[in-house]
C-alpha cells in the first residue's frame, strides 16, 4: 500500500484536483437543471445548450475585445444576462403557452435544443474555437505545477453555489421559490406572483449554466455541440442527488466529478462514464427518489 502511494501519490493528487474542478463546474450546471425541475416540474432538455451558449458568447467576447482578461470579465457579466433573457423569453412564449405540461415541455425543450444549436452553427460555424485563459500562472506543487486558472474556476463555482444557497435560504425571492415548489396554489393565496417566480427560476437555471460555460471554455474550447455531455452528466447528477435538492445535487456532483477524475487518470474516461451510468441504475433501483429525495435543502 505505502509503496503504491509512493509511486502513485502525485498522480492521485492530480486526479483529486482535476476531479474537484470538474465537480464544482458540474454542480453549477446541474444545480440549474435541478432548480428548474424542482420548482417548475419541467425537464429542460435544452439546458446543455444554455451552457454551450455561455461558452460561445465567451469566445465572442474574447474575439471582440482581443484581450483574454477583458473578454473573460465581459463574458462573465454578459453571458448569464443574455442567456437568462433567452430563458425568460422561452418561458414566456413557449413553456407558458403549453401550461408547463410535463410531457409537452420535454418535446418543446428538445425543439429549443435544436433551434439554439443550429442557430449557433449558422452564426458561429462548425469550428472548435479555443479561448485563452484570462491569466496564466501555475501553482507549483512538489511533484508538478497545476493551472491556477483551474483552481480559480473551482473557487468561483464554489462562490456561486454558496450564493445560490444563500438566495434560496435567506432571501424573500428564495422563500417564494421554495413555497411555489411545495404548493403553487397556496403560494398564490399568499401573494406570490408565481408566473414571475417561474420566469426567475428559469432565468437563474440558464444563467448558472451559462456561467459554467464561460468558466470552462478556456479549459476545454467552444463548439456548437459541446452541450450534450454536460446535459447527460447533469441528468446523472440530478438523478443521483434527488431532483430539486441543492444539497443532493452538490454531493452527487462530487461523487461523479471525483470518481471521474480518478478513473480517468488511472484507467480511461470511457470507464468513468460507464461506472457513472451504472451508479445511476443502482440509485434508481435502490433509492428511486435519489440520495436526498425532495428535501430541497
Amino acid at each position: 500500500m505505502s509503496t503504491w502511494l509512493n509511486d502513485n501519490g502525485p498522480l492521485l493528487f492530480l486526479a483529486l484536483l482535476d476531479g474537484t474542478v470538474t465537480a464544482f463546474v458540474l454542480a453549477l450546471i446541474a444545480l440549474g437543471l435541478s432548480l428548474v425541475f424542482g420548482v417548475m416540474r419541467i425537464v429542460n432538455v435544452a439546458h446543455g445548450e444554455l451552457f454551450m451558449l455561455g461558452a460561445v458568447l465567451s469566445w465572442f467576447a474574447f474575439d471582440l475585445t482581443n484581450d483574454p482578461l477583458w473578454g473573460f470579465l465581459t463574458a462573465l457579466v454578459l453571458a448569464p444576462v443574455i442567456v437568462g433573457s433567452i430563458a425568460i423569453f422561452s418561458d414566456r412564449f413557449i413553456l407558458r403557452k403549453i401550461s408547463y405540461h410535463p410531457e409537452s415541455t420535454i418535446v418543446a425543450t428538445i425543439g429549443l435544443l435544436y433551434v439554439i444549436q443550429q442557430l449557433t452553427l449558422m452564426f458561429f460555424g462548425p469550428e472548435v474555437r479555443p479561448v485563452e485563459a484570462p491569466f496564466y500562472f501555475r501553482i507549483q506543487f512538489p511533484w508538478f505545477g497545476y493551472s491556477g486558472y483551474k483552481l480559480l474556476v473551482a473557487g468561483m463555482s464554489a462562490l456561486c453555489l454558496s450564493g445560490v444557497w444563500l438566495l434560496m435560504k435567506r432571501s424573500k425571492l428564495g422563500l417564494y421559490m421554495r413555497a411555489t415548489q411545495q404548493d403553487i396554489e397556496i403560494a398564490k393565496t399568499f401573494g406570490v406572483p408565481t408566473q414571475k417566480i417561474y420566469a426567475s427560476v428559469f432565468a437563474l437555471g440558464g444563467g448558472l449554466a451559462a456561467l459554467a460555460g464561460v468558466l470552462v471554455v478556456p479549459i476545454r474550447q467552444a463548439d456548437h455541440l459541446m452541450g450534450l455531455e454536460p446535459l447527460l452528466l447533469s441528468f446523472i447528477v440530478v438523478i443521483i442527488g434527488g431532483l430539486g435538492s441543492i444539497r443532493g445535487t452538490i454531493v452527487a456532483a462530487f461523487i461523479i466529478g471525483i470518481s471521474d477524475g480518478i478513473i480517468s487518470v488511472f484507467y480511461e474516461p470511457t470507464l468513468a462514464k460507464m461506472l457513472a451510468t451504472l451508479l445511476v441504475a443502482m440509485v434508481l433501483v435502490l433509492k428511486p427518489g435519489g440520495l436526498y429525495g425532495e428535501d430541497q435543502a
Binding site: 421554495r178 397556496i186 398564490k188 393565496t189 425532495e294 435543502a297
Partner: protein, 235 residues
Amino acid sequence: MLKINNLSSRYAQVKVLNKVTLKVKEGEILGLLGRNGAGKSTLLKSIMGLVEVVSGSISLDENILSEQQAHNIPKYGIGYVPQGRRLFPELMVEENLKMGLLVRDSSTDVLDWVLSLFPLLKSRMKQKSGTLSGGEQQMVATARALCLQPKYLLMDEPSEGLMPSMTETILETVEKLKTENVGILLVEQKIEGTLRVSDRIVFMENGSISEESDPQKLAENPESLMKYVGVKARY
C-alpha cells in the same frame, strides 16, 4: 363588506357553482354548511382566485376581486385557511408564518399578536411544519393566514380530523377574532360548534345556496339541518 354576487364558476369543463349570492360583514361570523361535494371549498377557492369565474362577481368594499389575479387578492386583506391545512411542508413554522407576514408587509407586532393566540407555536418555530401533529398544523395554517392581518378570514373545515379539545381551541380563536372585527366565512362539518359561534348560517347544495338561517331559528326548527347536512343537532 365581502360580497359574492350571482357567482358561477367552474374547473375546466365542470361547472360547480351556480349563481351563488352571499355577504359577510366585518366582525360577522358566517357558517357555511353542506354535504361533501356541495361546492363549499370551490366557493372559497373562487374568492381566492383559484377557480375560473364564469359569471357574477366577488367584491370587497369598493374593490372587485374577481377581476384580480390570484396573487393580488390576499393583499386586500383576505386570509385563507385551506381544507387539509396545506402548509408548505418543507418550510419551518417560522417561514410559513413569514409567508403570511410578507403579503402586506406586516410588522413583528403582528407576529407577536398571532403567537399570543397560539403560544404553543413559540417553541416550534424552527421545526419543519410537515413534521407537526395535525392539531399543530392547523394552528400554523390559521396563524399563517392571520399574519397578513386579514379583514376577512376564509376557513375551510378547520376542525377536520382534530381532537375535540383542538376543535375547541379553534372555535375560541374564531370568537376572539370576531371581537377584533374580523369577518369570518367558516365552512364546517361539525354542526354544534358552528351553530354556537356563527351569527348566521347558510346551507349549500349542488353548487347553490339553498337556505339562509340563523342559529336561533335552527335550534327551534332543526329540519333544515336534517335536510342539508343529514344530522340532528343536540342541545
